[in-house]
Every structure is written in C-alpha cells, then in structure tokens.
C-alpha cells in the first residue's frame, strides 16, 4: 500500500451530500476482475456527456482547467455511502486522489480508503465550507496541505483544522503497511481463541 505522510495538492469541492459509490464508479464501469483500469470510470455518469461515451462534460468540476490535477476532494455528508464496492476507492486512487475531506463517510467506504492509501479526513461541515470558499478563488494556487502525523489540515491563507483518526489506521497509512501482515502477528491469540471456542461452541465449526 502507498504510504501517506504529508500531502499538498489541488482540492476540488463536490459539495453534495450522500454521494454514493454508484456515483463514484457506476457498476457498468467495473469491467474486469481487476483493481486496475478503473480511473477512467471515476464519476463516469457526470464526467462524460453520455453514459456510453468518453466525451468530457465541460460542466463537471474535475473537467475544468482550474481543477486540473486535483488530488483532494472536499465534499458533503455521507460520502461513499451505498454499495460496498472497493472499486470506488481503486478508481479514486488511480485517478490520483490522495485525500477526501468530508463531515462524514459511508462506513465501508471509509475502511476501504484506509486499506488503499487514501486518507479520509473528517472535518465539520463548516470547516469544509471555509476551505471550499478559499480554494475556489484560485484552485491551482490555493492548495491544501494535509499532515497525517500531526493530524492537521491547513490552507494557504491560514485556515487550520485538526482531525481525528484511530492510531492503528494512522500507523498503517503512515508506513504503507499491509493489514493482513500486521494481524498475523497475533496468530497465537487467534489460535488460542479458536481452541477455546471449539470447546465451548463446537457447533460453530463446519466440517467439509
């Protein structure tokens, strides 16, 4: 997994609430049994003029010149709700998104971000609005800076916000660690747990 330490990048405001994973990547764009090749399908329903074309919709924010090379999204409540498809996160990552700032996230989506090196930052609605108001004045210049170690978001004109993140996920992101590997350090605990339950609740275990 790609590590996340600090990031300074162009942010784009997508200030709707309840942007679901179908909107982030429509099902029809998930063509292969692969985590790759999904970036092109990101936001396909709004990014292209027609669902079956690749002609860019000039009104969609990420297609505008001011927002070229966006790496941070500023968005509304419950971003990433809906379907559990991790393809939404793989598509965002492939497009180049490194962080998403929202008042809240869909729970499965939030975890999926953590597992794929995208930092989901929870800030109040007001903070998201203040950041958006500022960057909109000149998106290419007024970049946003995120420091994961310090848990801080700051803007060029001096806005500062702190955010919470659980320490395990933070460590994993900072060091680009693989969560399966980390968990397997607890192999002895898992084994002991299995032996104990097998005694107590033997019916839980299916035999082939």
């Amino acid at each position: 997994m790609k590590a996340f330490t600090t990031h300074c990048g162009i942010a784009a405001p997508l200030l709707r609430i309840n942007i679901d994973t179908d909107a982030i990547i429509p099902s029809r764009e998930m063509r292969r049994v692969s985590k790759k090749g999904l970036g092109e399908g990101l936001f396909a329903s709004s990014r292209y003029v027609m669902s079956d074309s690749r002609e860019l919709n000039p009104d969609f924010i990420l297609n505008k010149a001011e927002y070229a090379n966006t790496t941070i999204l500023l968005t509304g409540n419950n971003f990433g709700c809906g379907s559990s498809r991790e393809h939404a996160v793989w598509a965002l990552a492939e497009y180049g998104i490194r962080a998403i700032i929202a008042p809240s996230f869909g729970a499965i989506f939030y975890q999926n971000c953590m597992r794929n090196g995208i930092l989901p930052v929870v800030l109040s609605n007001e903070a998201v609005m203040q950041l958006s108001d500022e960057i909109m004045q000149d998106p290419q210049k007024l970049k946003i800076e995120i420091d994961l170690q310090e848990q801080k978001v700051s803007s060029k004109k001096g806005l500062h916000f702190e955010f919470d993140i659980e320490t395990g996920s933070k460590e994993m992101l900072l060091n680009g660690l693989d969560s399966i590997g980390l968990t397997l350090q607890y192999e002895a605990d898992i084994k002991a747990f299995e032996q104990q339950t097998q005694k107590q609740h033997s019916w839980l275990y299916l035999q082939n």
Partner: protein, 470 residues
Amino acid sequence: MSKTLFQKIWDAHQVKSLPDGTYLIYIDRVFLHERTGSIALQSLAEAGRKVRHPEQVFCTMDHIVDTFPGRGDDTVMPSGKDFIQATRKEAKAAGITLFDIGDEQQGIAHVISPELGIVQPGLTLVCPDSHTCTQGALGAAAWGIGSSEAEHAMATQTLRINKPKLMRVWFEGELNSCVTAKDMILHLISKFGAHGGAGHAIEFAGPTVEALSIEARMTLCNMAVEFAAFTGLVAPDQKTIEYLEGRPYVPKGEQWHQAVEYWHSLVTDDDALFDTEIKIDVAEIEPTITWGTSPQHACGISQTVPELESLASEDARTAATRALAYQALQPGDKLLDLKIDCAFIGSCTNSRIEDLRKAAAILKGRKVASHVKAICVPGSQQVKAAAEREGLHQVFLDAGFEWRESGCSMCFYAGGEHFGKQQRVLSTSNRNFESRQGPETRTHLASPETVAASALNGCITDPRTMMRTN
C-alpha cells in the same frame, strides 16, 4: 453486567483488544459473490496467501449472472462471463463452497445464507456486499465489508474494527392494513435521514418486530445500511429456532440442542444501555414509497412530494432539488396515480416466498396494465421452486409478469440488462440512487403489495384499494 444483544456477540468474538483502541474480532463465516468476491479471492491468491478455514467460506453467483430462463456463463453484461469463470476457478482453487449457476441452492447471497442455515444466531458473518446486514434478522452480527477486508477475513479469520455504537429502534403498535416491514424501514429512514444510524449497530426490537415473521425481519434489517448503520439485528426467539431447524448447515443432534440453549441467552438484558434509542408507533405508518433518489426521500403513499421549505437544511434542499429534476417531479406533486413504466419484484429486500405470496394475492386473476413491463425475480432457486409448487409462477405469468431464474437482476445495473432511460420503475429493491437500475432510470421503492397493485393499474396505487375481501 447487563449487556445488549450486540454486546454479547461482540464479547464472544473478541480475540484481542489492540493497542490502538480497535479490536481484533473473530469472523465465523465469510460469504462472497462473483462481483466483489472474485477479486478478493484472486488478490489473496496472488499475494500467496491461503484461506484459513475454507469450510467457513461460501460463494454464490448472484450479481452478474443473467436471470433469463436457460442461462449459462454468457451474460448480457459485456465481460460478465469473465467474472463468473474467474470466480469458479478461484473458488475451486481455494477449496470453498460455491453455489454455482444451475445449482438448486443458488441465489442471492443474503437470501440463501439464511435459507441454508449458514447464518445462525450469535455468530459473526461478513460479505463484501453492503446488504449483508439482512442476515442480522437471524440474530447474528452480519455486516458488509470491502474486498480488501474480505481478503483479511479469509486469511486471518478476523477483522480489526472499531466498536460500533449501540442503538435500539423500538417498534410498537398495530400495523395498518398493507403496511409491511418494508414500509417500517422506509418510514424510519425518511424520518431520521439516510445518515440517521451512522456508526451504530442497530437492534430492531419491540412488540411489532417480535410479531414479524423471520422473512419480514430480513426485509427490515436489509435496509439498515441505507440508514448508514454498521448493521441491524433482531434477537433470536422461538420463531428463529423453528425457522432454522432442519436446514442444511445448522448443527445436528446433540449439537443442535447445545446451540439452541446458547441462542436462548442471546437477548438484550432488561437494564442494558444503548447509546441511542428511537421509538416508533407503527400506527402512524401507511404504505410508504420513495419520491426522490435517496431512501430518505420517502413518504406515505397518500402524501405529496414535500415542499422544499419543509426540508430541514440547505443541503437537504439542494439534494431534493436535484432528485426531483432527475425524477421529473415537482414539490407538491401527488404520488398516487403517477404513471409508471415498469415494475420489479425481487432483490434481497423482497424476493422471498412470503413476498411473492403477498404480491400474487393481489395479482391473482388480474392483468398488468398493457404499457407496463413487469418482472419477478425470485431471490433463490429454492424460493423459485417453492413458488412453482404453489402455482404462484402461474399467477405472475398470467398477470403479464416475466418469471425469472434467481439473482440480483434488475435491482442494479451491472452494464447489461436495464429498464431504459427515464423509465419510471416501481421496485421492491432497496436503492433508488441515480442510475442504480440503469442510466437515467427513475426508481420508486415500495413493498411487493404496492408494486403489484401499481403494476395492475399502470400507475402508483395504494395497495389497500386492491385488496380482496374474500
């Protein structure tokens, strides 16, 4: 100490509390499907990792597989075949149980897992699919995860997670005629918002829930995720035990008795505390339907689309404005009598035998309006077979419905079959998001009774007006 049902299950599965404040939770069962499970199996194998307990992992073909009679590996969705064949290959290599196309136990994951007794009270079950919460109806902790988490669960038989907050939604009172579990959950979401249950494991309880059948409880729990909940669940009771007895994967003999004894302990203690409690008198609920593009955009069927000023926040007004433009509706529009183009009875929300019976009771001897394309897709091959034994398929066919093989089908658009642009669909599924059922398709969610009644009249119809007196 007094504990809630969820707390009891959680405690019984806690392998370790980790230094970062999360928990290592033991996972008893993993369920996969060909759309997200294929990639999890493949990626696990590529990383050189093994499935720790293949006998606890199950997989079905439900999302991409066609539902036309005589189906095979080919799909209307371009490249669907790749998903199907990759899943078959990976499932075999991993040594897990696959309910393949043509298998009489095949069906939608959340329909067949309870039907086969794979999910049981008190156990933990995860699936890379958001509607896994459906299975909480059996008194299990069952929740949806991403593909990477599914890999983690298969490789380690655990997940590292935060403990969700606890909520109880208490339903009491007598249900009005034609009001079902679907209407209860739509009502709840419309009242408290699509974000209302965020971060919570929700126990649905109270006399009305106790009176619901197990299948209706599945409908209720199914949409917990549309309420942004971590999961939903219902305490097991005598009905749960009777439902499970004799199903293929439940314990047998002495083990059955031990299990039942344990299941009896899985109730919320009298003075256990929840972080949040909601109480709803179901007498206030009428058949409920959505008007917009979020499950929270729902109201009683006799009501009108709300005026924007009545909505709580600027965000909600902006979202509603966009939703109404998409749905080609205006504030103040009446929902009753609105012309529909299609009707869909199916999905993990409402595709079980009781759902089909209720719809058939309304359809019997009647015909779907000639301009309506109507499709019924049983949730599993076993549901389909049971319906055919009762002759329900004939009722659907005679009324003008298509009768399909089981799967997710038109619940979502995978890139294959869909209802068509700007078509207004009355659907028993759980998501009315933009383009969920196809590009620009306009979805209204409702119960099987409401969908059946509306299909007959060709417009949104209150099912109470179509009930027979005999």
